[in-house]
């Protein structure tokens, strides 16, 4: 019997996993061709189509499901403002993203404009539902405030995306399109995913580590630097600001990620459970990784601004950030979230009546660790291929990344058979 409470996030998680599998299968089918084209110029119809399949169909779909699951929990079992609205929002958003991916693939600008607007409508419904839930609860802390900030930036990213979609269809704004793209990326990649992952980690990591008594001051500094970085970055693009404004945006964002990694180390130091699971360990490693990458980019971009802002470097940074940190962290957390969801579904009401398995028995932690290691290693090979412009490394890394990801998706899907 599937409980009503968890059916809504399930819908998002299953759709996200399906999109993830489609993305990887599509990559495997023509890996060398699309990666070579993407490394030279990421802005082409098939590239846009794949990027939105990955970011909207997978990452955002999973993230929305996580918000629907975690917000009522953080608010101590408070109900969502409207579960029915959640289902309607799912239908609108899923239709929008599928149409947008198809529109990009067919290079049909009218379809892109139409479905970019549908995606934005889906985002607005999501923001209204979550916003109303959070406001009614009026229980603000670093998790709920961070979630609200994330959803607000998703709305901003969606608005910029819709304007770009309409510009594709009607060519209203001409060269302003590129400025909108910059803002779209800052709001979506750094704002939506940045706030969501950092704030949810403040709940999830102490819970899985059984950490108690750790300091929480850094959480405010992370949010402050991230907010400053996102808005400085977005406004720098929108106002066509000089290069040093972009550098300040990057520096603030790097400071946020470095402080975030330090804070996760604090949580880890105060742990009472030594083995929280491979997914939780990897989420910390990936946080250290993105903190290191962004911190290195600060002096590099000051010394070689043209190289850092060039297409090749943008592709490398984009893959490391979106696939490496955002995608990797989502995959890592899914190794805990999917078993939890399924356990609650299948065994939650049986606890106390009969012997039920533990969460650790729902998924093989050694396989989680092995596959996440393989995925990260493959990503490094792929990025090295981009850096050295080596089709061999790109094909090798891209193939291993897609294959490893498909195996990982299979490992997660196997939980539903437990």
């Amino acid at each position: 019997m599937v409980s009503r409470v968890s059916r809504l996030p399930f819908l998002f998680f299953l759709t996200g996993l399906a999109s993830f599998a489609v993305f990887q299968a599509w990559s495997l089918a023509d890996v060398s061709a699309w990666l070579a084209a993407f490394s030279e110029e990421p802005r082409y119809p098939s590239g846009w189509s794949r990027a939105h399949l990955f970011v909207l169909g997978w990452a955002t779909m999973i993230a929305m499901g996580a918000v629907y699951q975690l917000v009522p929990v953080v608010l101590q079992n408070r109900q969502l403002f409207s579960r029915k609205l959640g289902y309607a929002q799912y239908a609108v958003f899923a239709t929008g993203f599928a149409g947008l991916v198809a529109g990009f693939r067919a290079a049909d600008v009218k379809t892109v404009g139409l479905f970019a607007s549908v995606v934005f409508a889906g985002i607005l419904l999501f923001a209204f539902n979550i916003g109303a839930t959070l406001i009614a609860a009026n229980a603000w802390n670093s998790v709920t405030a961070g979630c609200a900030a994330a959803v607000f930036h998703l709305v901003m990213a969606g608005a910029a995306g819709m304007l770009m979609g309409l510009n594709f269809a009607f060519e209203w704004w001409g060269a302003f399109h590129d400025r909108l793209l910059g803002a779209h990326l800052w709001f979506g990649a750094a704002g939506w995913f940045g706030f969501l992952i950092t704030s949810f980690s403040y709940k999830l990591l102490p819970m899985f580590h059984l950490s108690h008594g750790h300091p929480e001051t850094l959480q405010r500094f992370v949010a402050g630097f991230l907010l400053t970085g996102v808005w400085t970055g977005a406004l720098s693009f929108l106002l066509n600001a000089p290069a040093w404004c972009h550098w300040i945006a990057l520096s603030c964002t790097a400071a946020a990620f470095v402080l975030y990694a330090v804070h996760l180390a604090q949580i880890h130091r105060f742990r009472h459970k030594p083995m929280p699971g491979a997914g939780i360990r990897w989420s910390r490693h990936l946080a250290i990784g993105i903190a290191t990458v962004t911190a290195l980019l600060v002096p590099l971009s000051a010394a070689f601004p043209d190289a850092v802002l060039g297409t090749r470097m943008a592709v490398i940074i984009g893959w490391l950030y979106l696939w490496g940190w955002v995608g990797g962290t989502i995959l890592a957390y899914l190794s805990k979230i999917i078993p939890f969801l399924w356990w609650t579904h299948k065994y939650g009401s049986r606890a106390g009546r009969e012997k039920v398995p533990t969460m650790a028995e729902m998924i093989d932690d050694r396989k989680v660790n092995a596959l996440l290691s393989a995925i990260v290693a493959s990503l490094f090979v792929l990025v090295a291929g981009f850096g050295w412009n080596s089709p061999l490394l790109q094909t090798l890394g891209g193939t291993l990344l897609a294959a490893g990801s498909l195996f990982y998706a299979g490992l997660l899907a196997a939980v539903f058979a437990k």
Partner: protein
């Protein structure tokens, strides 16, 4: 029905993430047994625990299904806050606590 029997019943309910039962986790703050009536005052390791329903429901169900228990009252409280010091030696060992 005596207190020891009820405690043994409660040990059948585990936090499925931590793999430790609610007694050894130190989640049971107060247990009152009067004839067939059992009153439990308990907490969870964190407020806003995703397993709230499963664990608290498990405590209720394991008591309700015992033929010697007629009435069950489970109350969840957040004060005093749970701390790791409440773990029993068996809970610490199971968790690998350090």
């Amino acid at each position: 029905m005596d207190r020891e029997t009820v405690m043994e019943l409660l040990k059948q309910v585990h936090d499925p993430e931590l793999g430790v039962n609610v007694v050894d986790l130190g989640l049971i703050y107060e247990l009152a047994v009067e004839g067939g009536r059992v009153r439990v005052r308990m907490t969870l390791t964190t407020p806003g625990c995703p397993l709230h329903e499963a664990i608290v429901g498990g405590v209720r169900r394991v008591l309700e299904r015992h033929p010697g228990i007629e009435e069950v009252d489970v109350q969840v409280v957040w004060e005093p806050r749970w701390t790791p010091e409440r773990l029993t030696p068996a809970g610490r060992e199971r968790l690998g606590f350090f």
